[in-house]
Symmetry: C2
Subunit: 300 residues, 2 copies
Amino acid sequence: MFAVTILGNNSAVPAFDRHPTSQVVTMDGHNFLVDCGEGTQIQMINYKIRRSKISHILISHLHGDHYFGLIGLINSFGLLSHQQDLHVFGPSPLQQIIELQLSVANTILPFKLIFHTINQEGVLLDEEKFRVRCFRTNHRIECYGFHFEEKKKPRRINPDNAKRFEVPSSFYERLQNGEDYTQKNGTVVKNEWVTDPGTKPKSYAYCADTKYDETLIPHIEGADMIYHETTYLDNLRERADFRFHSTTKQAALLAKKAGVKKLLIGHFSSKYDTLEQFEAEAREVFPDTELAIEGVAYTI
Amino acid sequence: MFAVTILGNNSAVPAFDRHPTSQVVTMDGHNFLVDCGEGTQIQMINYKIRRSKISHILISHLHGDHYFGLIGLINSFGLLSHQQDLHVFGPSPLQQIIELQLSVANTILPFKLIFHTINQEGVLLDEEKFRVRCFRTNHRIECYGFHFEEKKKPRRINPDNAKRFEVPSSFYERLQNGEDYTQKNGTVVKNEWVTDPGTKPKSYAYCADTKYDETLIPHIEGADMIYHETTYLDNLRERADFRFHSTTKQAALLAKKAGVKKLLIGHFSSKYDTLEQFEAEAREVFPDTELAIEGVAYTI
């Protein structure tokens, strides 16, 4: 499963039972917590996200609504006797902030907490089946988005054909990687005779907080889904620009220009008590838009 | 009104819809926020505590369940254009923790944030009508309880009698302070002929996190209400002791020995999904015990 579950969809100040930014990206059996506003651990309880399944936490930037819940979550991991390593990626002062708070409480964590400082665009994780990259967004302070992509899926073997062409099962892994097989008599069995293409690898990009900025496009182009903030409705474009945020139609325009398949919008200002108009405005420009609703898992 | 409203009654890890420690003490029109676990600002919204009415925040100690919500609350005060000065009392590294987090976000607060470092027992606030003191409790790290007391209330003038004894109204303030009045002819009008006693001043003590410790008694003796933690039921006395916490019967015994009128218990361990037994056990020792329930205001 490749999906994103929303834990918080509101901007800076909690309001109308909406919480600050946090989401869980599930990919290849891993759970990545992306941003961690205050109360994220409580939202995880509310929405039955098993805290023990989180091994990586990515923090986009150091505005409080994106990370004030991190110290509480780490602390609870400690109290709950979490064992596995916890990798935290974020801008540089984050490590100091967390370590200071652990030290004043004389907290000794029962697991290894590994900080990875983000200070430039690039690859954060490169595993056999997926890759996670970060890219700069255009915000008031240093801020990064995250791009999650599955790697090319292996070709699927057609067992009947493979048998018919006398390919031994010891060669199957090489078949999955696209190689041809040469029989003992020298006959070449073309890969496509005995395999079908693997499913297309998918990708998801989290664009964090940002003003409208087309330099993001190369980083998110063609994604199956992106999350883009829409702090304001489109009549507040000037305010959005001034505060390094985006409006509904700006997010939708970026999604359109980047040729993505689906747009998820969130980070709604506490000015707004209802969200219908966000959806309506964004869909005028990009019909495949969904509101990021807390507790909902969106399949990528 | 002199009352305490519970915002969080759970210990370290949030569970069963109970939140980490926080309460609001209302006295003489002032609201004192006492401890501020993660999510306190959300609890304030839930229970309609006007954030703008908070002018003083007291932090007992630097375990996360007592202060991780502070930075978020201060940040929201900033975003909500809070104007009045905010006084924060707490152990020394608190200021550094908060200022570091404000500085990495380039946050300029629109109000004056004044830190008062607590490093010894004594008077924190001494106003015309009340006094707030702090006292040490016995916990794993430096920890303070807080004692709120009204000052002696002025005597109430009996206007009919005052007129009958020809006391001029310009002397009323001195009557309220207990002075006698001497008429022009030298006759002394005894204060008690023209006034009634003021209502008795009340007091409330918050005993923070602590193991059972009778050295607390002089600080809380005779209080109208105390809050004392009961992290565990009484069968876990050893664990309580080891972790510098208290059980139901220990809290009740301290309340009894200190001759207080009412005991409020909280800081329940996340082990327990229900709380009835906490109340029952404490009442065996001290009948005037109440569970600290989130959202409830207890009049002192």
